[in-house]
Symmetry: C2
Subunit: 226 residues, 2 copies
């Protein structure tokens, strides 16, 4: 029984990787780089996108917005006058907790790939399943808010292990928290040694220039790819 | 293709409900009330449990601790000298993002049901899937941290809709956030009108007495049940 379940999951992940490769070919053909942007709910993904998406030098950004329900984040980003496509995961049942390659594939016809250089896919807020499903991305970025505590890398290791950049967000709140930043960074290194990390605050602007520069390098193919 | 998927999911949820009912019979037979305790990662579930689990008047508390990996939270709670059983969801593949009735069932033999009156099941940190799987609980409590923003009820409606109590946590941080508490409570009412809610801070102790009293009422069967 248990073995059967494992086999089914492995087959599902194999099928996902096949579709992710097809997505990747479509993106490559259009010359579009793709970032899979992940975090727990409320870590600040959308606010971090608002801070940079319309101000990348010489890079046209589009956003694919993944949510169980609604289009609150897409509406915020559309106000920046960039192309935004909403992808909801709630059709038919209680709602998927992540985007997979097939869901992204279904959205490709709606994406203006000829008009953008960089597609940022804002995944469903969740630290578990999004890390298990490749979508055809060039890089994976996760946001870890300091309000979530220092232990998250140890409790959700796959998410921290499979990303190329960790944005440690809401550092403007450090003075008001019982939070040990060194301990968080030590725990990050325990599961993904030397992964690139940046301390940022979308609220104060601290670290935002570095994060924008990182995206700009991804957009021109200068950064590591998965 | 799509219909097939929906049917499979519905069958899985039916099977889950059957096992949840069996769990409930075992808990009832032992005279144990059960709370399913849920939130996003880092919302403060464990800290809120630390604040009350050893100080419920005349109620013996046990904890079933759900995590993808590790036993960090169980270790913290065991320090209170209460029975704690760890349940990890990572066996065999990338890790389940929620507890289901069968996982809880597998842990029942390890639980000292004769020695406790109230079992608190700390679910995996996730606002989507835990809400879809009953485990045989009497009540469901969710924690929504003010650091997560006002929009979470609208983005994760099932979680807010299926719980009997919403703990709005980390209210000591309100002065340092761009956060509209009235807007959050309005959004809660949009998806679950008049659900009971409490403003708490595990850090300052504000609201903790009310939350402890609520649990004590559950333990003696005075509160609503699912």
């Amino acid at each position: 029984m248990h073995r059967t379940k494992v086999t089914v999951v492995e087959e599902a992940l194999d099928a996902n990787n096949t579709i992710a490769a097809a997505n990747r070919m479509d993106f490559d053909r259009a010359g579009v780089k793709v970032v899979n942007f992940m975090s727990a709910p409320g870590a600040g993904k959308t606010t971090l996108l608002e801070a940079v998406a319309a101000s990348l030098p010489d890079v046209r950004v589009g956003v694919l917005e993944g949510d169980v329900q609604g289009s609150l984040d897409a509406d915020r980003l559309a106000a920046l006058h960039i192309p935004v496509v909403q992808l909801n995961t709630d059709s038919g049942f209680g709602g998927e907790c992540h985007l997979d390659a097939n869901m992204v594939r279904s959205a490709i016809p709606a994406l203006p790939l000829d008009e953008i250089d960089l597609l940022i896919v804002e995944n469903v807020g969740n630290l578990v399943c999004p890390a298990e499903f490749r979508i055809g991305e060039d890089a994976r970025i996760m946001v870890s808010s300091v309000t979530e505590g220092e232990d998250k890398p140890l409790k959700y290791p796959l998410m921290f292990r499979t990303c190329e950049l960790v944005l440690v967000n809401k550092i403007d709140l450090l003075a008001h928290l019982d939070f040990d930043l060194d301990r968080l960074l030590y725990n990050v290194d325990q599961v993904h040694p030397d992964v690139e990390r940046m301390l940022v605050s979308a609220r104060t602007g601290e670290g935002i220039d570095a994060w924008r520069d990182w995206l700009a390098r991804i957009a021109v193919g200068e950064a590591v790819t998965v």
